[in-house]
């Protein structure tokens, strides 16, 4: 599986990867590889066209049954917040949440709850989201979690980092919607210059879901730019925001 994960996007979009371990490892890869994430999204849209092209009017009675059923089915709340995840962990044998929550971590957690609209698509994707949530929660709960905030022209962004774990999570609110064909891209900036990181698009309320970025390593700044869909290897526009991280 570690051989060449990039090739799995097609099978994955066709729901043809049935081995849960293999699927999980590809989903893990999607969190890391912006290119595969973007490709998978396009291939899933394509697969959906294979479906919508074979549309067929269902029997009329289906409508009545569905409308009757939604009258008694409770809807899911909008988000699965990292808190829910923390509660689960807390109930389990290994406490993930440190006894003393630092003010910063608590603030970060509050931000995560507010901003943390993590989309859940289907039961199948639940596991992936749970993993992503628990990674976000793990960073927020790290004893040395530190928050760096920045606000500029209506955009507020926040990076929560943990040196002990070597991880960072990015949150933002207020980013303008982008036309199709454009994406926001995050950059880890260090001695080697900007390294391409996750791609993101704000939801209709202007928020981006919490994103676990690549290895903290010797990153000194996190930046965000607008790039063509699919992302770039090097920034092609000047950054909207650059957030300096506190030194180790």
């Amino acid at each position: 599986m570690s051989r060449d994960p990039h090739t799995l996007a097609g099978a994955y979009a066709l729901h043809a990867v049935d081995d849960p371990a293999e699927r999980a490892s590809f989903e893990e890869h999607l969190d890391r590889c912006a290119e595969c994430a973007e490709e998978t999204r396009g291939l899933r849209e394509t697969a959906a066209r294979l479906g919508s092209a074979v549309a067929q009017e269902p029997p009329a009675a289906l409508r009545d049954r569905v409308l009757a059923e939604i009258g008694v089915v409770r809807q899911l709340p909008p988000a699965v917040s990292p808190v829910a995840d923390l509660d689960r962990h807390r109930a389990s044998r290994r406490p993930l949440w440190p006894r003393v929550v630092s003010g910063l971590a608590a603030a970060a957690l509050a931000a995560a709850v507010t901003l943390g609209v993590v989309a859940l698509r289907t039961q199948d994707l639940l596991d992936r989201e749970r993993q992503a949530n628990s990674r976000v929660a793990a960073v927020l709960a790290a004893p040395d979690a530190t928050t760096v905030s920045s606000a500029d022209g209506g955009v507020s962004a926040r990076v929560v980092m943990s040196r002990s774990q070597g991880t960072m999570v990015f949150f933002s609110a207020g980013l303008a919607p982008l036309p199709d064909g454009k994406t926001y891209q995050l950059w880890r900036i260090g001695p080697a210059g900007p390294l391409p990181d996750r791609l993101t698009r704000p939801d209709p309320s202007g928020r981006t879901p919490p994103l676990v970025l690549g290895k903290l390593g010797d990153t000194t700044q996190v930046g965000i730019t607008v790039e063509p869909a699919g992302g770039s290897a090097k920034p092609t526009t000047s950054p909207l925001m650059v957030m300096p991280l506190p030194p180790a």
């Binding site: 979009a13 043809a16 092209a53 074979v54 067929q56 989309a119 859940l120 939801d203």
Partner: protein, 196 residues
């Protein structure tokens, strides 16, 4: 970076933003909005479920589950991650395929291979589908694939086979099937002018 794709030609795409807007209203418990969503997605949902399950009674049952799930999980739809139609169709396809797999979990492999003798997913679909514009376009794009790409994509999507099963059925190496599914879908994406 990927080369720029052709501009979309498209169909149903003007409904796209409308569906997304409606899903947001549904997320707030708006039943009137849900009825409109139902009218936009019920036929695609029932169609895909029917191609995969090939049994109208079971398909109606699964389509009902899917449509109720759209109501239940509407708040989890995130337009920044894909279109509303793709969100709905992913739920529908997964439900249908999972149902087929569960039903066949106990079936031995030889039987599955035998099943393929009579079940050729693409031909079955081509024979049963209504000749709409969208189907015509899809068919044209499918015919631009190599035979192996077309079989890999359609066996998986319409037949509900895993890539391992497809490799076995077509007697080609696993790595080849994975690659054909990917490059086949990429070619379809470009041919259909799919956004994003």
């Amino acid at each position: 970076m990927r080369p720029r794709r052709a501009l979309p030609v498209d169909d149903g795409r003007h409904d796209r933003h409308e569906l997304e807007k409606l899903l947001r209203q549904v997320a707030l418990g708006d039943r009137v909005a849900f009825e409109r969503v139902y009218d936009m997605v019920a036929a695609p949902v029932y169609g895909v479920v029917l191609r995969v399950l090939r049994d109208p009674a079971q398909s109606e049952e699964v389509a009902q589950e899917v449509l109720v799930e759209v109501w239940r999980a509407a708040a989890r739809f995130d337009a920044s991650r894909g279109s509303g139609m793709s969100w709905v169709m992913t739920i529908a396809h997964h439900r249908a395929v999972d149902r087929v797999r569960a039903a066949q979990a106990s079936t031995v492999r030889e039987d599955r291979a035998a099943r393929l003798e009579v079940h050729r997913p693409y031909d079955d679909v081509a024979e049963s589908v209504e000749a709409t514009l969208e189907w015509e376009r899809l068919r044209r794009c499918l015919s631009g694939l190599t035979e192996l790409q077309r079989q890999s994509v359609t066996y998986a999507y319409y037949g509900g086979y895993t890539y391992r099963e497809v490799a076995e059925l077509l007697k080609v190496p696993l790595a080849t099937v994975k690659t054909r599914m990917r490059d086949g879908l990429i070619r379809m994406r470009d041919c259909l002018g799919v956004e994003r």
